[in-house]
Symmetry: D2
Subunit: 467 residues, 4 copies
């Protein structure tokens, strides 16, 4: 996944040991992060186990068995390039006057550095570079000063700005928290005394509980013996859901804020066909990422659908070969064209995004070499022209082909006959949401929160809540 991934969080309260359910939830959320996995449970104190690696590498039956307790949280983290990032694994756990806390965080603070400096000035020593440490320590301070959990959480939310979906243990109490703009997803599921808070609704499907609803932007939810208790901080007039969750991060069978990812993707395909029609013989998806878009494109255009590129699933496993050797191997080890299908055809090639353009360039050339007469590329996402500061791993404009080149320039780079990106209006139409309720930072350059050196979207002043 070229953009890195989001993290995934889950919190469960049940009448029996929750470690197995949290484990299953994390496996289902594995697509949101493969760097590290961790679980904290409360059982006469909070016990945390976490390590680098996939969920099934980190947790063995014995480990899960020993993690007794009916309440707990879990986290999967996306991979970065950092060498030893073991200390960044979550949940993060601390011990204070009021007991123990454990936190799992999906999102990114925009005022992390300011807060870190502010508290360093007060004499705090920091153990990591993570936003999570800031959040849990500000919260600990609030609790230490005598506030009840909900007030402490609220005060913390007033201090931090950015995107955050949190699962939180304060001793044996479990909270789910979503930032006032609802940037990252978070939802609640329930069945016969078992309550679950999770990043994506697919967790509920896997654990066979019913989705209750999304956690609202700015909402603090406590789940436990007494069911669901809800509190909230003041929120601005509009939300700022990250549209990228629907077009990229989330599994297509996830329903977030009432909208199924698959539906958005297929509808984008429809709109793409309307915005960038072309006479062609075959619509071919880049597997697996372009499939839903391609299906939508076919539906609307009436052009035939064909799985003209085959993915070698086993090649996805990492394998490092001496460079001089690898240079001689072409990309076809990973993607192979179905020659008889593409030969002599005018192809519409559909994918969800273009980052640097190199991969797409290779795919276009693979198709040409297999005999495609024309290759028309259609991208199910508007041009990414600006960095994301709210949780997506695309930080500099230099990395983004679309922030440096025109559509025509990119078309030339990838060697396509034509290139069409989804329009921003098309995206909004596909989402079925009000433009003002979405974070479109990376495609407009206007952000829903104040970011030094960047434009804030104009509609309202949220200073109070967003720093």
């Amino acid at each position: 996944m070229p953009f890195g991934e989001a993290c995934g969080v889950v919190g469960i309260y049940s009448h029996k040991q929750v470690s197995y359910d949290i484990f299953t939830a994390l496996r289902v959320l594995q697509h949101r992060g493969q760097e590290s996995a961790g679980i904290s449970v409360f059982n006469d104190g909070i016990h945390t186990y976490k390590d680098m690696g996939l969920v099934t590498d980190v947790f063995k039956p014995k480990t899960l068995e020993k993690m007794r307790g009916n309440i707990g949280i879990g986290h999967v983290r996306y991979s970065t390039e950092g060498a030893s990032v073991q200390k960044n694994a979550q949940p993060i756990e601390i011990s204070t006057t009021i007991g123990q806390l454990a936190l799992g965080h999906n999102g990114e603070l925009v005022n992390a550095n300011e807060l870190r400096e502010k508290y360093k000035e007060k004499g705090w020593a920091f153990f990591s570079n993570t936003d999570s440490e800031i959040i849990i320590r500000v919260l600990a301070k609030e609790l230490h000063e005598g506030r009840d959990p909900v007030s402490a959480i609220k005060n913390t939310m007033y201090e931090i700005s950015g995107s955050y979906s949190l699962v939180l243990l304060i001793n044996n109490r479990l909270f789910g928290i979503r930032d006032p703009l609802g940037i990252k997803p978070l939802a609640i599921g329930k069945k016969s005394g078992k309550y679950i808070i999770a990043s994506e609704s697919v967790v509920f499907d896997a654990l066979d509980v019913d989705m209750v609803r999304d956690v609202s932007p700015g909402e603090i939810v406590e789940i436990g013996e007494n069911g669901i208790n809800s509190y909230r901080v003041p929120t601005p007039e509009h939300t700022a859901h990250c549209f990228f969750e629907w077009v990229y991060f989330a599994r297509s069978d996830s329903v977030m804020d009432g909208v199924l990812a698959y539906d958005v993707r297929k509808k984008i395909g429809n709109i793409l066909s309307r915005e960038h029609p072309v006479e062609a013989d075959l619509v071919v998806p880049v597997p697996d990422s372009g499939r839903s878009y391609a299906i939508g494109y076919c539906e609307a255009s009436g052009i035939k659908y064909g799985e003209g590129l085959i993915k070698n699933r086993y090649v996805e496993r990492t394998f490092i070969m001496p460079e001089q050797v690898m240079r001689e191997y072409n990309v076809s080890v990973k993607l192979n064209p179905v020659k008889s299908m593409v030969e002599g055809k005018r192809i519409v090639l559909v994918d969800d995004s273009i980052v640097r353009g190199t991969t797409m360039g290779k795919i276009v050339s693979i198709l040409r070499k297999a005999g495609a007469k024309q290759v028309h590329v259609r991208i199910g996402c508007p041009m990414i022209i600006a960095p994301c500061y709210l949780g997506i791993d695309m930080k500099t404009r230099g990395q983004l082909i679309a922030s440096n080149k025109s559509v025509e320039g990119i078309r030339e780079t990838i060697g396509a006959d034509s290139l069409g990106y989804l329009s921003i209006d098309g995206l909004i139409e596909a989402m079925g949401k009000d433009r003002k309720d979405l974070c479109l930072g990376c495609i407009t350059g206007e952000y829903p929160v104040k970011i030094r050196g960047e434009k804030m979207r104009g509609q309202e002043s949220l200073d109070r809540y967003l720093v």
Copy 2:
């Protein structure tokens, strides 16, 4: 893969070290077998390295680097339940008066036991239970008796009966051999002095060589400095290509005996729609196996295509959990329905096969639970009613639901509203081949070779060639 898998073989002659190319070829053939992988190269003697595990687990850059030599063979083996099957890994290598031999085999002999007994009677001690050992030792005997390689291979082919696609090193000479009925696939590729023999044409795509042609049934091909030399044993009037390669084993982008697997699968979808039409709202494939069939079904029926089931790719990794715990987890961890898409719909659910019926039963119930109004199952393969003795891991009638139950019985078992299997005629039509040129043993109970206790298809007597 419920039916086990075929093995994959490759042999390469080149002007430079072939170990890297063989390694890449094996990765591309990995879908044909994940139990073990091995490579033999000739360089002042034959050197073989093989072990249990995936190709990338067995071969590290250092190992490949040390395997010098311009000529070699490789093999991937399918997984069985046997405990320590290390000794069954291939290529198998032996040392004789005339030098060294190494062999990789895809297929299954029907007279293996007879031959093993016959040669045990002559005092031979066997080191494994594999057909490959029989083949290589009969061949070694022929060579030892003074025959030239081609005569020795021919005599060996006269002794053995069954399916076999072989890659063979006799010291520094490389042969590819296909049984007289052409049951298992084998093809030749070439580019600027590099020659490749491989189970599937996708190897040529990955290594960027051109496919020359299939190895003919009964053909012995030698590749080397002098290009391609061809010899042949007498063959019967008809071939007996295993149709399962096109509908199940091979990658859909492989062309075997002139026919692209994808085309067959899509065409089967067309025919299924004609043979088992139904009024429905949505065609849903079982991912990833049913996709090509479903696309074909849509094309012909005009019913909309929808990816209504989502696969959790990370869950494919094996993980063993205490049974009592796992029993509580439902299948949805692996396959999840897209509720909004299937809710209230009449679904045509398409897959390539039904073995025991349990998995299909669960998928049907997942769809129903997600709100599907009707579920009509369509299977892109005729009913499997008889065992395979020629290379597919389905040995007893008891394992096969279709050999014990009627269509109606199976429909009831899986809980579908209707169930339609492809007809045998439909299969033949989709293949575009003469019925007599196919092995249809598992769907007709009539086999192209003599098998004790089974019927042989009547068209001709092949005793001479097939024992």
Copy 3:
């Protein structure tokens, strides 16, 4: 090692990359702790890498290579039973207003809980249960308040009480610190611009530098470009070196505070023979721990030395077998008597200590079964009757056979013909140090620092320095 182990620390300043030297030093100190290993280097910021496992498991050439920097510290930690103790691995690293700190600690604070509570009350959240976190954070507070490193370290030393030998990075400055009583060892080595601070002098031998001297009790040493700079806190009239280092923890070739461990051990053997003479035919050491003592016993008694027990080195590797199976295997897998040597003999069996008595009981019975006529056990250490609070993992009197039983009771338990422990006076004689300069807490019950519920040795009041 029945008593757990001490930790090992090292700090190096050099003209070239220090990671390899630190790695070698940690391997040489591996006997002081096998649970985890870690290295911090300064190179435009402090970089720390640490993990569970042996030094050679944690650090691979690639990791070491990437750890650039001419100054750094390292740590090996002893193993406890705690489940996930990853977060306790050292060095511990933090980030503050004045930059970064990294710390490696050998020892144990006696006022850790008090300090932790005190600072929790001030609102601090703790990330671990370690003394090291307390030390580094108190130090960070001092630095944050504007003190220079040496003053900050001094103030920290005034707050903490207990045993501590520390290696410390304050950004690119490297300090070695030893508690005012000199409880745990720490020494300085040097050669042509390379300076090393390490727990044991064997590190200097391995890195081929010359030992300069011990770090003095209460001394703060800075090493770097300007050589060795020394500062000190006020110290009491007497030191309190842990005698256990010489009789148990340190390698016998280590010189600590001017005394070679081997010499002490051999001399103890001499004294044991004088204090507990016995008519016997053979002195047999428990390998490898009793060897130096046994050699000394022979020297003084004139009785013959014999390696009558053989250790199976390969069995030292951990291997977990189902309990019901293991119960059937006797200890002889690990230790085997040389029958012909012990048969019919009166044996003096020598070891360094008895903890619970079970192992010694088994060894006695192995010897008897092999035909020994008498088995006289001699122990090179006085009876351990009280817990250690200063760094040795023996916390409760219940664990210690000598705190619950008389010598005669223990003799009966282990089934020996006679049992002789070294006297405290004998120990002091062997050490060649003033009794007042040793910590004899575990053998006298009187401690050199204030410990709640325990007696403090009377000689002086150290309140000022020891809290």
Copy 4:
């Protein structure tokens, strides 16, 4: 171990599952070979599991548990440099007309090539390069020709020449076999219905059974329900026990052919002191190999014993570092002198052997650097001047410093003040055996069996039995 190692074999018959006992036996024999480990048990057919690695790496509790059966054999193999030697792991298992065979072999045939060629000429194809394959196949031929097991084994023994201690399963019958010269050790143990055949008596100690006796040279022993049955082939007048077992391979607590290794080693020390007396202050063993010899040297010379070199046990683990880095580390990481002990002293340094001389040279220089005034090296084994063809991995005269240099030349190479090797007569005296009953090939150049290009010791003609 510079000379490579011998292999270890074990066979057990019991009233319950033997896999755990075989596993324990192999761990105890681990010093005889660390390359591979394997077990074969009979339980309705022979089942073999083997792999590269230490015993505890190859066998996990689950594997052992599944290996049901009351009768079985095991093998550990010494490490060679060969790349993929997986196929050489033992036991070797074959299937024949008369059923299954499995064999474990310790030793080396001198007519392996002749036999391999002879049988290749008869048309046999060989699967490995091992002597074991020759033995098991000749045996299989004999059995196939209708002979009963004992006759077949005898005929096989008449064909093969060299050293061999064998454990053998012929279906459910277990045999132990020792070559007519008794070159390699093999012994029988027993307790209440459990019978064990093993390379060294330490196995009996570990499994708590009583040693019954050695297997006699030329004896075939069958153990099972009916106890011990013994058969024999004609043997020459003298045995040819490999003296190296006592001075090098075997554990010092092993009794072989009535003689305890420790006794031989200590006695050698006595004799060395008599043969090469020197005025000195301290006898220092190279740990752990020189210890028994050094103790003996002290006893006879009256010079004091001192453990003046300390071994870093953790450094024994293999760890590969970039060469340029390692070159800078001195050997002291592995061996460290106890300076205060050796300083100013005249040292007698004792070890069991010198191979190339490089290691000994480094040790001498370590001692000198630590201040030793003189270093007198004493070696507990005569000069190795000729290759071994009977099981020890020293094949060419070029590898052996003593076959190329005089004592004085070697002394100069290692930089010692004096150098004394044990004399051959001294060795024989220490062994307490008749010279004619020992194989002294490597120290005399005269072998007990015919070897092309080498002298055979003259005492008798054994053509009949030794080919």
